[in-house]
Symmetry: C2
Subunit: 156 residues, 2 copies
């Protein structure tokens, strides 16, 4: 039974990792609270509505939508149920597949996202992009894509 030596994080690594985690928590929290306060939409609502807006006729198959926002179907199902109750989207049956369903954005949903989007974009700018140089932003994107790629290759 060999004692495996644990390679703990150096002070620098630890700081970087904690800072990175903190950044997302704080920035994400702030942005979603802003969105909620200004538009009565959660970040999840926003993601769904943006996707529907980009789709032809503002309608999309259930699982396609789930894949677009990278959610499990269960989460999507619960969330769409709540959004439907609030009148932001509606469910529609699918003619060519008896078990399928479409999700359609409503007038109300469209109004909500159109009101929210400019404010949200402005918030992303003023809270994040404004404080990052273009070079840094490229580095961030490059690192993010690389790490996610490895995540995909190496399944759970």
């Amino acid at each position: 039974m060999a004692e495996e030596a644990v390679r703990w994080l150096t002070a620098e690594e630890q700081h970087a990792w904690r800072s990175f985690v903190r950044l997302h928590e704080r920035l994400g929290g702030r942005l979603s609270r802003l969105l909620q306060a200004e538009s009565k939409l959660s970040a999840a609502d926003y993601a769904v509505l943006v996707n529907l807006t980009d789709a032809p006729d503002g309608r999309q198959r259930f699982l396609d939508l789930a894949r677009s926002v990278e959610w499990e179907k269960s989460r999507m199902s619960h969330h769409i149920a709540r959004m439907a109750k609030r009148g932001l989207v509606a469910r529609e049956e699918c003619p060519e597949d008896g078990r399928g369903a479409f999700v359609v954005i409503t007038e109300e949903g469209r109004a909500a996202i159109e009101a929210a989007a400019p404010l949200h974009v402005e918030a992303v700018r003023s809270l994040f992009l404004d404080h990052v140089t273009p070079a840094e932003l490229r580095t961030l994107a490059r690192v993010a894509d690389r790490v996610v790629e490895h995540l995909d290759e190496e399944p759970a």
Copy 2:
């Protein structure tokens, strides 16, 4: 009534922003699922236990603990209640402040964190740090600290 021109994100900005968000969601999700599977601890549990372990006698005042992990007191209260029910920590009354409370790590909690830590550190390495160069890591940390600093200055 002036039409304010919305400064939408460029394709590059949008990509960087989405990649960044995706990185945290995916990496965070993966790490916490690993932690849960290997150690029956959530990321939140882990943070609490690490802090308690670092404190003298494994005990800390309630709000100090909350500040350390950067949570609201309400969240801490709920979470400590759940952790106490699982036997990971215990509450203790505070002699010199009648309303105060200490949170103390239990034997069970200590065992849990000591088992979890090496695995978690290894996961952070293999899923993240291994794919980031030291220079990139420094950039990340620098950007994160800068953005959070601005976040702090500019309250909600």
